[in-house]
């Protein structure tokens, strides 16, 4: 049944029942790792701290009864982050929470209007004073969630800070870096590669980005990151390369061989607030990620927190489809 806003729809039997089972199963995974459930409101204040981050343009806004502007939530990470500094400020750290629900975004334009996009998400966030702790805890939870998918899954890990560091070392200024990342975000590998090649074959940092940009398997990744750490020994880049290599190794151990792990330096998430570790998991033949997330310390600063935040969201619509195919 289509509702008044095109793109908004109901969930009918048996999908509604399957969704409830899926949520229960994933909630058990999260609770088993010590994550605590929270419920987040559907309607949000589109202004306030941190509101300039993330899915700003895609929010569906409307006039509230008092004349103020309200919006449907387009992303739950900002809500969770705000919760961590207000209602959950006194809870012990690290603070792992999870939640589920629907998010609503403006999708592609349709004439003068637009189509709405309604996605079902289950998200998990970790707030900690240690960036590595929040990142590893979120990645561990994501890996356990990945284990609920039976076959053909690949977890791809990237690192925005390492990418930024290499790009600046290669000689990109702020404008070039922004354009380069926009090309990666739109998956335009041709444009991104051309920008790097234009920097010359002797540019070691540009060559390293080119090599690390595709989704390389763990063996290739370890070799490339080790070479990078050696070439830039004693610099911040070397530390970041070693950290990334360590994280990929950890992910492989945690995966228990149940799915493939790859490193993709060109991985940029559609939300602008990611600043360090990023990851996405893909099922074979499905063009959108099963889950995706990363570290968003920039968003935490925007809401006035000194903590590190990391998290991810699972696309329950995709998981439901896999469940119907017997892959979950």
């Amino acid at each position: 049944m289509s509702e008044f806003l095109e793109g908004i729809s109901c969930l009918l039997p048996p999908e509604a029942m399957l969704l409830r089972r899926l949520e229960a199963r994933l909630a058990a995974v999260m609770e088993g790792l010590g994550f605590m459930e929270v419920r987040l409101p559907m309607v949000i204040d589109p202004a306030g701290p941190g509101s300039d981050e993330g899915t700003v343009e895609s929010k569906i806004k409307f006039a509230a009864p008092d004349g103020s502007i309200a919006a449907l939530r387009s992303d739950m990470t900002l809500q969770a982050a705000r919760l961590s500094v207000r209602e959950l400020a006194s809870f012990a750290r690290p603070l792992p929470i999870f939640y589920s629900g629907e998010v609503f975004r403006k999708a592609r334009n349709k004439g003068a209007s637009y189509l709405a996009r309604q996605d079902m998400h289950m998200g998990a966030e970790v707030f900690s004073n240690s960036p590595s702790e929040s990142g590893v805890m979120a990645l561990t939870a994501a890996i356990d969630a990945c284990k609920t998918v039976k076959s053909g899954l690949q977890l791809r890990i990237g690192d925005i800070a390492l990418l930024d560091g290499l790009a600046r070392t290669a000689g990109m200024d702020g404008r070039q870096l922004q354009s380069f990342k926009e090309a990666l975000l739109s998956k335009d590998i041709y444009r991104a590669s051309s920008a790097l090649r234009a920097m010359g074959g002797e540019n070691r940092a540009a060559k390293t980005i080119l090599e690390l940009m595709p989704a390389n398997d763990a063996k290739v990744t370890t070799k490339l990151l080790d070479e990078l750490a050696k070439d830039f020994s004693g610099t911040d880049l070397a530390v970041k390369a070693q950290d990334a290599s360590g994280l990929v190794g950890k992910a492989i151990v945690l995966s228990g061989g149940k799915f493939a792990v790859a490193f993709e330096l060109g991985l940029i998430r559609p939300l602008s607030y990611y600043s360090g570790l990023v990851f996405e998991a893909y099922a074979e033949g499905v063009g959108v990620p099963v889950l995706g997330g990363g570290q968003y310390d920039g968003l935490m600063r925007a809401i006035g927190s000194k903590e590190s935040g990391s998290g991810f969201a699972m696309d329950l619509g995709v998981m439901l489809r896999l469940m119907e195919e017997g892959a979950v």
């Binding site: 595709p214 989704a215 499905v286």
Partner: protein, 218 residues
């Protein structure tokens, strides 16, 4: 095994020849109506060009060959891997010859046109282009023979792809300005890009190498 979506129409023969030059068995027969055929470890699908990004994005094909124009118009989230160098054409804003000087004067000076009715087969590209150039654009979406629209008063201008510009000229139209260039692109499904990284990397390398050595041929 990887599945490659090929665009039906003017670009199909060039795509099949490019794959052949890269050493892939692409047994495309232009007299056959078969839309699916195998060549060694590759399965080929022939789809309407505008559908190629959809097939690839939804996982029906791992990779595809499509014009940049069709890719931009589709808005599908796929990896754009390579410019294959063939199927070159330009996106232009064109108008009746007599109107071109006045339109150029405003646009060249960085100004905005007050109102313009634009007929096109590419509404997304046209909408993006018109933003910041026309205060009140009216986009009229047609399926074909766009050049007809200004002649019968349906539109003030058109946004279309041109190769030589001859079709515009015989219909009394001239280019106001070029919007962008288009050529054939190799695209990949977001999942396949990582899960089938090896065969896709091989395809890119071989098509890249054959493009360099055989660039003048294809």
């Amino acid at each position: 095994m990887i599945t490659v979506a090929l665009p039906a129409g003017r670009m199909l023969e060039e795509a099949a020849r490019a794959l052949g030059l890269a050493g892939y068995d692409c047994p495309y027969d232009k007299d056959s109506r078969k839309l699916i055929f195998d060549g060694g470890n590759v399965r080929y699908l022939i789809a309407r060009p505008s559908d190629v990004p959809v097939y690839v994005a939804r996982g029906a094909a791992d990779v595809g060959i499509v014009g940049k124009d069709g890719l931009s118009e589709s808005g599908e989230q796929v990896y754009e891997l390579m410019d294959l160098g063939f199927g070159r054409c330009r996106f232009v804003l064109a108008a009746p010859e007599d109107d071109v000087p006045a339109l150029k004067e405003v646009l060249d000076a960085g100004g905005m046109l007050a109102k313009l009715r634009i007929a096109t087969k590419f509404p997304s590209i046209t909408r993006d282009y018109a933003t910041g150039k026309v205060i009140r654009p009216e986009i009229i979406v047609l399926k074909g023979a766009v050049e007809l629209a200004p002649a019968i008063g349906l539109a003030d201008a058109i946004v279309d792809i041109v190769e030589s510009g001859k079709t515009l000229a015989v219909n009394g139209l001239a280019i106001v300005e070029q919007i962008s260039e288009s050529s054939a692109r190799l695209i990949a499904n977001r999942s396949s890009y990582g899960i089938k990284a090896k065969p896709i990397a091989d395809l890119m390398e071989r098509m890249g190498a054959s493009g360099r050595t055989g660039g003048g041929i294809r």
